[in-house]
Symmetry: C2
Subunit: 102 residues, 2 copies
DNA sequence: GCCTTATTTGGTGAAATGGCCAAATAAATG
DNA sequence: CATTTATTTGGCCATTTCACCAAATAAGGC
């Protein structure tokens, strides 16, 4: 698969959707189950409008699903592979911390 | 694991290092084996100084290793789990494309 | 219908990002 | 040692990102 430009950008968008501390924290929380926006606002500790924008970005990338029930909107992960994903990330994360190399 | 702020940021940095089309393309190429900067410059099609900066960012996040041999610097992936990682990404990427939801 | 609660949208500003170019560095070669 | 080749560094500029705030929208309850 020669990976078209579009495909590459879609993939990058998914990854980017997880590549921010607040969004990663949200994703990790959602591994334990669905949450509404105000739950996530308390978790992350920024303005709710900011959380909402993060969630929109993640949803548009394909990472999240959402469902409205009553006054709340419940967000959940679109895929259960995030655990494996993060295991790979942790193997890389600052395991080296090689600031100099060449 | 309550995930300290530092840990969260380190993880996010790893993910962010892969969450850009050029950098993802580089990473995918490196799955096939090490490459020098000028190889990657041809692959990505941007200025070599730009590629170099991408590589530095990826290395500092922990995603890449590098080794100098002669005039060239060869970059390689720091971890072989990228295949699984991308499999997860592809399951998410625009599988839904849900622009509206709630 | 009016109030309250939950969420999104639009605007703004500061900071980060990603590209290019030119100059600096490092190693090999004549 | 001067030259060539590979790479990095620093500067600059346009764009994007991420935070906040205020205002708009949506649903439920009195």
């Amino acid at each position: 698969m020669p990976t078209t430009k579009k495909k590459l950008e879609d993939r990058a968008a998914v990854i980017k959707a997880l590549g921010h501390p607040s969004r990663l924290l949200i994703a990790q929380s959602l591994m334990k189950g669905e949450r509404c926006v105000c739950d996530l606002k308390d978790l992350v500790g920024v303005d709710m409008s900011t959380v909402s924008k993060h969630l929109t970005l993640m949803r548009e990338a394909g990472v999240l699903n959402c469902e409205k029930r009553g006054l709340n909107i419940y967000y959940s992960l679109a895929c259960d592979c995030l655990g494996d994903f993060l295991r790979c990330v942790d193997r890389l994360a600052c395991g080296g911390k090689k600031t100099t190399c060449c």
